[in-house]
């Protein structure tokens, strides 16, 4: 039987997954991204300096990652480099955005797949916030309403956590996490101007100054967020893993892994990074070569040529194209399907032994859970990788603030050349993000974005290889084929963003 899981909620955007179920097992899956705006088309002919503003609007969940990727691409095209302060401010803004995004993903977007919200009715404690929620749910259920306690009910049928204490603890953290996300974003906006959609990030640095009052406020906010990550977020992920250990084996993608590296530790963004770049295929890591990236469109709604490289990319929408089932292209690396995102970032870094703190955390948690690092390629693995990176990033950001030189310049001087080109690569919270820009006659002649969910929610390529999420869904056992909470948990572990994927 065929079952559409869409619209899938608690993700960004418009995603359907068309599944085929035989004997309670997913035998085929099609990721159908159902929203298209055409950024690469309307960026053409614009002022190059518009790009880090316009491309942030690809995604309001991770706008800063797009601002950074665009800034790197423009820096390469303009042949400039940010001063040391400017690069650090880029990191402080982008890093804080990762912290918020991981918390948002685990608590608001994923927790309700596992946590039983009705446990609040059994709450007997004195916490005012929880009591208010309890009273609200009680009042809702007692009224004759069409859908009481929405948006938290109704929900998909399935096995949720039984332990009332764990449930109530998780609900409390759901609420606290919202405050922590806000604080992480406040910290980012201190230097970014505002969140979402920063106005202070530019190629060549940041217009905000490295002022001591701003630095102190940033540090105080990030310290609070770091403590929450250590004391609550990581233990909550471990607790869920302990109760659903089968999810170390569910949601395994069947290709390679790629990361462009995150948070440069030198003014040159291609220098040493907190998390290293690389392409991991068959246990071997090689440096990323952007020339190896091509995008197939046999199953995507475009009539332009298939298999083009990033520099030679084309985009002609063909809404009614026969056989196409999505607006997302199918990127491949040397023809291979790749997963990007938190697990890819950790595996690529771990294999190179780049970050000792990350390696220690991975070894400790993998040991406790009795899994191998390879099993991070799973539903629980992706959740755990986010949490561990959050801890490492938070410590790095605090150390980074101490490297700022208050009063020294934060911006390079900009002059836009008549012609030029540049790649800009970074890691959004959801994975490898690439921007490419070509300038002719002082205007944008070509702009191309290959975004994390373009990889993960990729349709089949011209050779018929499924995308990462499609491959991870195949083989999933489902108890209720019409609802498939198990498949939804797999999809959520990738944290798909369709606005990004298609753009």
């Amino acid at each position: 039987m065929k079952v559409d899981l869409g619209p899938i909620t608690r993700i960004e955007g418009h995603l359907n997954v068309r599944t085929t179920i035989d004997n309670g097992v997913v035998t085929e899956a099609q990721c159908m991204s159902e929203m298209f705006r055409g950024f690469e088309i309307f960026l053409k002919g614009r002022d190059p300096l518009d790009a880090q503003q316009i491309t942030q609007r690809i995604c309001g969940v991770c706008p800063y990652a797009h601002a950074i990727a665009s800034s790197y691409a423009q820096e390469n095209a303009y042949k400039i480099q940010a001063p040391a302060n400017g690069r650090i401010l880029h990191n402080l803004i982008q890093g804080a955005n990762h912290l918020y995004d991981y918390l948002l993903h685990f608590y608001q977007l994923s927790a309700l797949d596992f946590v039983d919200v009705t446990a609040i009715l059994k709450y007997t404690g004195k916490d005012e916030e929880l009591l208010a929620v309890k009273q609200w749910v009680q009042a809702e259920l007692s009224r004759k309403k069409a859908f009481p306690a929405a948006p938290f009910l109704p929900r998909l049928s399935g096995q949720y956590i039984n332990d009332p204490e764990l449930n109530i603890g998780a609900l409390k953290h759901y609420l606290e996490a919202m405050t922590m996300e806000r604080k992480a974003n406040q910290a980012a906006a201190i230097f970014g101007g505002k969140f979402p959609h920063s106005t202070a990030i530019f190629p060549g640095g940041c217009t905000q100054e490295a002022r001591i009052d701003l630095i102190a406020a940033y540090q105080a906010l990030i310290r609070e967020v770091r403590d929450f990550i250590r004391d609550k977020y990581i233990p909550d992920v471990v607790a869920v893993a302990g109760l659903f250990p089968e999810y170390w084996k569910i949601g395994v993608s069947r290709g390679g892994f790629m990361s462009y590296g995150l948070l440069p530790m030198t003014p040159d963004p291609q220098g040493k990074q907190l998390f290293a770049a690389g392409a991991l295929l068959d246990g071997q890591v090689t440096p990323v070569d952007f020339g190896q990236i091509t995008q197939d469109v046999k199953y995507a709604r475009y009539s332009s040529a298939s298999g083009r490289t990033v520099r030679d990319s084309e985009i002609t929408p063909a809404a009614g194209k026969e056989g196409a089932y999505t607006w997302s292209k199918a990127p491949r690396y040397g023809g291979k399907m790749m997963e990007v995102g938190p697990a890819a970032r950790v595996l690529v870094d771990y294999h190179q032994g780049n970050n000792p703190d990350l390696k220690a955390l991975v070894d400790k948690c993998a040991g406790q859970a009795q899994i191998t690092p390879q099993e991070l390629n799973s539903v629980l693995g992706r959740h755990l990788c986010r949490a561990l990176q959050a801890a490492v990033i938070a410590d790095f950001l605090l150390a980074e603030t101490e490297r700022l030189d208050p009063g020294a310049p934060t911006m390079a001087e900009l002059a836009i050349p008549e012609s030029g080109e540049g790649f800009g690569a970074t890691e959004a919270s959801r994975g490898a993000l690439l921007h490419y820009l070509k300038i002719e006659k002082g205007k944008i002649a070509k702009y191309e974005c290959v975004v994390p969910t373009t990889w993960n929610a990729s349709p089949r390529d011209d050779q018929g290889q499924p995308g990462a999420m499609e491959s991870a869904l195949i083989g999933t056992k489902v108890a209720t084929p019409e609802e498939q909470i198990e498949s939804v948990r797999v999809v959520h572990s990738f944290d798909p963003c369709i606005a990004c994927a298609v753009h």
């Binding site: 619209p7 608690r10 948006p151 938290f152 100054e209 606005a499």
Partner: protein
């Protein structure tokens, strides 16, 4: 006897036709008395959007987002927060949009792809279908953010989808009977939306200027800018990162109506101009529209 619901519909129609100020006093008074027990149910739908406005709404400080969606309103459906998904989620949305589940307000984030309906689908129907259905059953709508108000970034010059905002969409369909409140910004400031909802609950429909709540959008950024003094004294920033008035770098504060200079962003801690970043006019109806009108004019300062 006229039912309250019909009355509200009638009053909203009058308001849409004549403007709120033109309503007779008793009608206006009745419109203002919304039962606090019956908080508005919100159906929040996304079109050509980036979810930035939804994320911004979660950055609210006082009241908290949770208070807003449980006490002042009830968020019956939102793709980013709803536990339910798939066919059951569509069923929930359909129960409201078909008028079977009671009164509700529609909140729309994102533009509508008027020239390419396939560019935005929810379930097996184009986004536009849901908006057409809602026009008949909703109490009113809030267009959340630049895209829903005026098309925003998806409507930038040269776009392939023919993206338009909600009011224009309804105008084209002759579905203009309901109040549509425009809350501009890319993204919106959370206060602008949440306080508009509180206004609806506590007082009634807010006073509008250019279809947007007057409370937030009656003054230009430039008028209240803390750097207005720099402007008068001709202390201009000459390059990005300089202090001083940012006008010569392209600041669009003189042409943008919003209360950012007094409200500030992210808990009142920051805003664009305080970080030496020119206003890019994200609350302006023509935000990012024209290719020949770039955000910045860095090359012209010394000319």
């Amino acid at each position: 006897m006229i039912h309250r619901r019909d009355f509200l519909k009638f009053a909203a129609t009058l308001a849409a036709v004549f403007g709120l100020d033109a309503l007779p006093e008793p009608v206006l008074a009745a419109l203002k008395k919304i039962d606090p027990e019956a908080v508005p149910k919100l159906i929040y739908l996304q079109g050509l959007s980036c979810t930035g406005c939804s994320i911004s709404l979660l950055q609210a400080v006082a009241p908290s987002p949770l208070t807003m969606i449980t006490k002042y309103s009830q968020l019956v459906f939102h793709a980013d927060l709803s536990a339910i998904s798939g066919a059951k989620a569509l069923d929930l949305v359909d129960k409201y949009l078909s008028g079977q589940a009671g009164e509700y307000f529609l909140a729309v984030e994102g533009a509508i792809p008027e020239a390419m309906p396939e560019a935005c689908y929810l379930g097996d129907k184009p986004f536009a279908h849901y908006l057409e259905q809602a026009a008949k059953t909703m109490s009113g709508a809030i267009a959340v953010g630049a895209c829903a108000c005026d098309g925003g970034i998806p409507a930038a010059e040269g776009n392939p989808t023919g993206a338009i905002g909600l009011k224009e969409f309804y105008r084209k369909r002759n579905l203009t009977g309901k109040l549509v409140i425009n809350v501009r910004g890319c993204s919106v400031h959370p206060d602008w939306v949440w306080y508009t909802i509180i206004n609806l609950v506590k007082i009634g429909a807010p006073e509008l200027v250019n279809d947007a709540p007057k409370l937030f959008f009656s003054r230009k950024v430039h008028e209240s800018c803390p750097r207005y003094h720099d402007f008068q004294e001709e202390i201009f920033a000459k390059k990005l990162g300089d202090r001083g008035c940012l006008f010569k770098l392209g600041c669009q504060g003189p042409d943008t109506y919003a209360d950012c200079p007094t409200r500030w962003w992210n808990g009142g801690r920051t805003w664009c101009i305080d970080s030496n970043a020119p206003c890019i006019g994200c609350a302006s109806p023509s935000f990012a529209r024209r290719k020949d009108f770039p955000f910045y004019r860095i090359g012209e300062v010394n000319k």
